[in-house]
Symmetry: C2
Subunit: 687 residues, 2 copies
């Protein structure tokens, strides 16, 4: 590591004006403790080396691991790379990997030392003082710990002469050394001050989900820490590692528990991401680096919350971790804002009217309408600038979404542009979001308009924080002048006692292919949501995955979905539908009411009901009603789910009405292919 650069001021993240993300607002009871430095391996990011370094710096990383191939293909000399890193405020924390070194016959050992000296030359030019040596896969190596330790000691002696440290890492698929315990035995046996351990969470946790004893390793032998998450997959571990790693919190590994152990050992080096991921490799590195940084801040927060008991009872100093302001409780969805144009507006208003909504307010200064029913609020924005008018200047896909724009076109544009949640402390919600690298959105108000705090999500959606419960703050409803048609609450219950759409159940957002994991991280960390549902299903035009995140009460739910693989020219006629789902206590009444008001409910195929009959043998009357009203059905071990949909309104929006029975957890994803096919059928009929 390079202490000189590590203490230099980091540059601001490109998407946020905050400095030192995540640490700015945390209390610092022991100010003397060093701050946890954050790093990223260049292999995590796409592009040429300079693209990667600039993205890492812009996201606020303190240092980088230089992946060998990134340097080999670069026209920049090692000196230039080192200089660029210094200019960007990045330390070069590690050069990696150096392979197939130890436990070989003498002649090969000599050749390996020569090879190492050439890499040490390069590291000197680069300004890197630590090299990663991973456990051997060489067919020439032997299973001899003494030989391995001796040769690594010889390497460390050569390294020491250059001021370089050797960090030895057990690959999970190492030929002889594939556990961190084994690598630690060899390091101890090698017994040289310049020989230490590199721990990589993937290599450790892929073999042992709950390792113990890491906290007993000597802190001065913990040279480096690499962090990666991954889904639990039953597959060859090398392929798993090379293709499916994820940023912390995006997979299933217990990274907080792992990191707590490493910190309990006294580790004070960088927390460095090393993520091999097929999608990240080809994603714009700017937003990807921000995703990575956000995941690290969230990990630090999670670790800070663990009261760790070292297994040997010794209390060690621990580095200062990022501490974003805690997430205030969320009480529900305040409103959803859709952008509409002249062509789509009548379709959307017509559907809202038929569903029992009332146009209750007009915005004081903009072409924006408020529609209400019970506790469900929908804002329709005809602002030509394209969205985000409620309190903001409507800037679009901040945060670097590159694919979003292409999917958001179409005649009769209609799409979800903003979500608003009710928070017990909107200001703190916003501060937390900014500490987690969310882009704050500037506000533009007229007189008497509420000053709402808002940030941009990576998928371009605007996220508003409104006061909820007993929280003080401006009432966003005050932005709207009543139309005089009464409140939606009155109207909905007047028109029909049963079947009122009392609140927003969930909002479903289409995610650009490259942004799926990053959006998960964003919504989960910023809003403190947890995964509520995950589904992967075969739709008529390819595989789709969907994930729902929600708060503990289930009052806030955000569903994200997208094609598993980016599609080509052969695609559904509604490629990226988005929807707002409203909850009711009586879906059948709601459907009858809506139909009575002229709604054409999305038709569901007879084959679907025949299949439902075969599978579940429902009461004939129930099946008849479902068939008549085009109501879809799902169930899980906790309860049941009934729902119906409108057709596609404008380019890609529809509404859904849902009724949850018991504690059903999902969102009816099993029926999504039926719905998609029906939307295609209807769209092709009207086109």
């Amino acid at each position: 590591m390079k202490p000189s650069t590590s203490s230099s001021p980091v540059s601001s993240p490109v998407t946020s004006p905050v400095t030192s993300p995540g640490t700015s607002s945390g209390p610092s009871p022991q100010a003397a403790r060093p701050r946890a430095r954050k790093g990223v391996a260049t292999v995590c990011l796409s592009g040429m080396l300079e693209d990667k370094l600039r993205a890492a710096a812009a996201a606020g990383f303190d240092g980088v691991e230089i992946f060998e191939n990134d340097l080999v293909v670069s026209a920049m000399s090692p000196e230039s790379v080192g200089a660029l890193c210094a200019d960007l405020g990045l330390s070069v924390d590690l050069y990696q990997p150096f392979r197939d070194f130890e436990a070989v016959p003498d002649a090969l050992h000599a050749a390996n030392l020569r090879r190492a000296e050439r890499k040490f030359d390069l590291m000197e030019r680069l300004g890197a003082d630590t090299v990663l040596v991973c456990s051997t896969l060489s067919p020439h190596a032997t299973d001899d710990d003494g030989l391995a330790a001796g040769q690594l000691r010889a390497l460390a002696e050569r390294a020491a002469a250059r001021g370089i440290r050797v960090a030895y890492e057990a690959l999970a698929w190492g030929r002889f050394v594939n556990s961190w315990e084994h690598s630690w035995q060899i390091v101890r046996r090698g017994d040289h001050p310049n020989l230490g351990l590199c721990l990589d969470s993937f290599h450790v946790l892929s073999r042992d989900p709950a390792p113990t004893g890491i906290d007993t390793v000597d802190a001065d032998k913990l040279f480096f820490l690499q962090l990666a998450d991954a889904p639990r997959l039953d597959m060859d571990v090398l392929q798993w590692s090379r293709h499916h790693r994820l940023f912390p919190g995006q997979g299933s590994f217990d990274l907080p528990g792992f990191l707590a152990q490493v910190l309990a050992a006294g580790y004070e080096g960088p927390l460095s991401l090393e993520v091999f991921n097929d999608i990240f490799r080809q994603t714009d590195p700017g937003p990807a680096a921000v995703d990575g940084m956000r995941s690290l801040v969230a990990l630090e927060e999670a670790v800070a919350g663990i009261e760790y008991e070292p297994s040997d009872g010794r209390a060690r100093p621990r580095i200062e971790l990022a501490a974003p302001p805690p997430a205030p409780e969320l009480l529900g969805h305040a409103f959803v804002e859709l952008t509409v144009d002249d062509e789509s507006a009548p379709q959307v208003s017509g559907a809202l009217t038929a569903l029992g909504f009332v146009h209750t307010g007009r915005h004081r200064s903009k072409p924006v309408e408020l529609w209400q029913q019970g506790g469900s609020n929908v804002v329709l924005n005809r602002d030509d600038r394209g969205g985000g008018s409620t309190g903001t200047d409507g800037q679009g896909a901040a945060g670097g979404v590159s694919a979003g724009a292409g999917t958001r076109t179409g005649t009769g544009r209609a799409e979800v542009v903003a979500l608003a949640v009710e928070s017990r402390d909107p200001e703190q919600s916003a501060r937390r979001a900014e500490a987690l690298l969310a882009t704050p959105l500037p506000r533009r108000r007229g007189p008497e308009e509420a000053e709402l705090t808002a940030v941009a999500a990576p998928d371009g959606t605007q996220l508003f924080f409104c006061p909820g419960g007993d929280a003080s703050g401006p009432d966003w409803r005050a932005d709207f002048v009543p139309t005089g048609t009464g409140t939606g609450t009155d109207h909905g219950t007047e028109g029909a006692v049963a079947g009122v759409l009392g609140r927003i159940d969930h909002v479903a957002l289409a995610q650009p292919n490259d942004q799926f994991a990053g959006s998960m991280t964003f919504y989960q960390s910023v809003l403190d949501l947890r995964e509520r549902d995950f589904a992967e299903y075969a739709a008529p035009f390819g595989l789709v995955r969907s994930r729902t995140v929600g708060n503990a009460s289930g009052e806030v739910r955000i569903a994200m979905h997208g094609a598993l693989l980016r599609r080509g020219g052969w695609a559904p006629s509604v490629p990226d539908p988005e929807h707002v789902a409203f909850a009711t206590d009586d879906v059948f009444a709601a459907a009858r009411n809506a139909r009575g008001r002229g709604l054409e409910i999305l038709p569901v195929t007879d084959n679907y009901y025949d299949d439902l009959d075969a599978r579940y043998a429902p009461e004939p009357a129930l099946l008849r009603d479902m068939r008549e009203l085009n109501i879809l059905y799902d169930r899980d071990e906790h309860g049941a789910f009934f729902h119906f949909c409108t057709g596609i309104l404008g380019s890609r929006v529809f509404f859904e009405v849902v009724q949850r029975v018991g504690d059903y957890r999902g969102d009816g994803a099993v029926n999504a292919p039926v719905r998609m096919a029906a939307h295609r059928q209807a769209r092709n009929r009207t086109d």
Copy 2:
């Protein structure tokens, strides 16, 4: 099966005028034997059910398996689906799958029989007479073969009353029944004429790469055969099956050996593809169905070549298999044709000149130039219609490439539009191609012009067959009027004794993401090539895979490459480079000659040579020469490979000069990231 439709004339494949593909030209010594019928499961193809059925019919399939979910989401009634199949000349060979039936408690058995009766209702409406029942995964089932057999017998009795057959299949991950042998025991024990076996090559070969004894199964108990290939993957078998199946010949399974056994048992039912593949699920079903049909014809040809000895010594009748005309020997690349425009033409001619090529001929009727050196021939086509002028009317991406068009744009257009190979029998090569569903290209000739046979590859490349060796036929060179500058052969050897580019080593074609596997099948089957090299590597902008296919002599080599995942907006500046590689016996002389003639060889980074030095410790003089001349290096256990490249010429073409030492098998894929980075660097510098 529906004998009435199975014997009806099949419709012609959409891409080819031949009828009954693959069987039209085969000898039929035992004309009484029934022809092998070919089918495809709707789950193999993307789109709505009617899209799938039309694609299957257009590709010449005789029948289909209807996958349940395809019907459930369809607005067509089962009767309408059946009628559409009949109209299209497709029999409905199977309805599938019916799950979790056998070995359950009595109450559940009764419910399962009810469920089955509902599906039998549907099958009657559909006109399907065979249902697939796959071995149970139910948590309610017990490990009791007697119970399983008894309940399946009860099901068969119900089915018999409807004229329906039950085909029982062992899923490779079945809870109790997961081998074909076990399913066969249960079927025998069930002992009902309407209870038989479904064999699926994936379920059998994923567990046992070389099964035996299938040929002893009673033919009248072999109700159905599903065919799928797959790469050998070390992963959960269900995930492997659901996502990674391939058409026959695209994976690693011994499908010919498997099919030979099944046919030796006397099976006369359809050869039906059942392929779950993430990419095929979202690919235009038209070309995908043609790929599938082509793979089946090639499989039939492979099986027909096996002299199978039944393990019990009994000779059984075997159905008549497709027999495309055998592939004539190929002697090398005749020429490669590039399309160029006003902007790119000077770049391409300049590079050819510097490489030692001479413009030796002008086409008699078109703006087309012949450039020659030794046995290397390059045709430059400035035809505005965009390619394919040599003997054809230049129609573009026949065969249904949808993504190709999008990648072939750019200012200064330059790309590979045609490959020509020398065949010992061009006419038979063309007949074989057509029997394998290649689209024949119409010819347009002037006086004295050669009538070349040509077909379109799925990637849009035109493939010409020229007479080679002692084959008689028109000489394509006669289309060109000599420029009077001598032949390239003379010129190349006059100018420099060493370093002549004596022949085309290989041609590298960029493949649209969805078409990769299909292109493999096309080139391998049509030209009778085998895989010579396979590589997957991390390029600066994402993972790339490349596959090289070649003939036994190595004189014809075609490399295909493309991004592993379809890219979004963040992409290299040269997204889909294509190149022509010329072979030389002295790459250093060739590089010096070219540089002497003014070629700017693509610069290779100093870091690359430093790394080469560290890894291989080459002779300093050799390393110095390589560094000076920008020559790249690779080696394998058979030999070594030296090569250098030009910059990108026009939109996406470059030339490469290669020298093979010993029996090196690859194409230097390990150096592709270095080359791609250098091309980006150079392109960004000049843009």
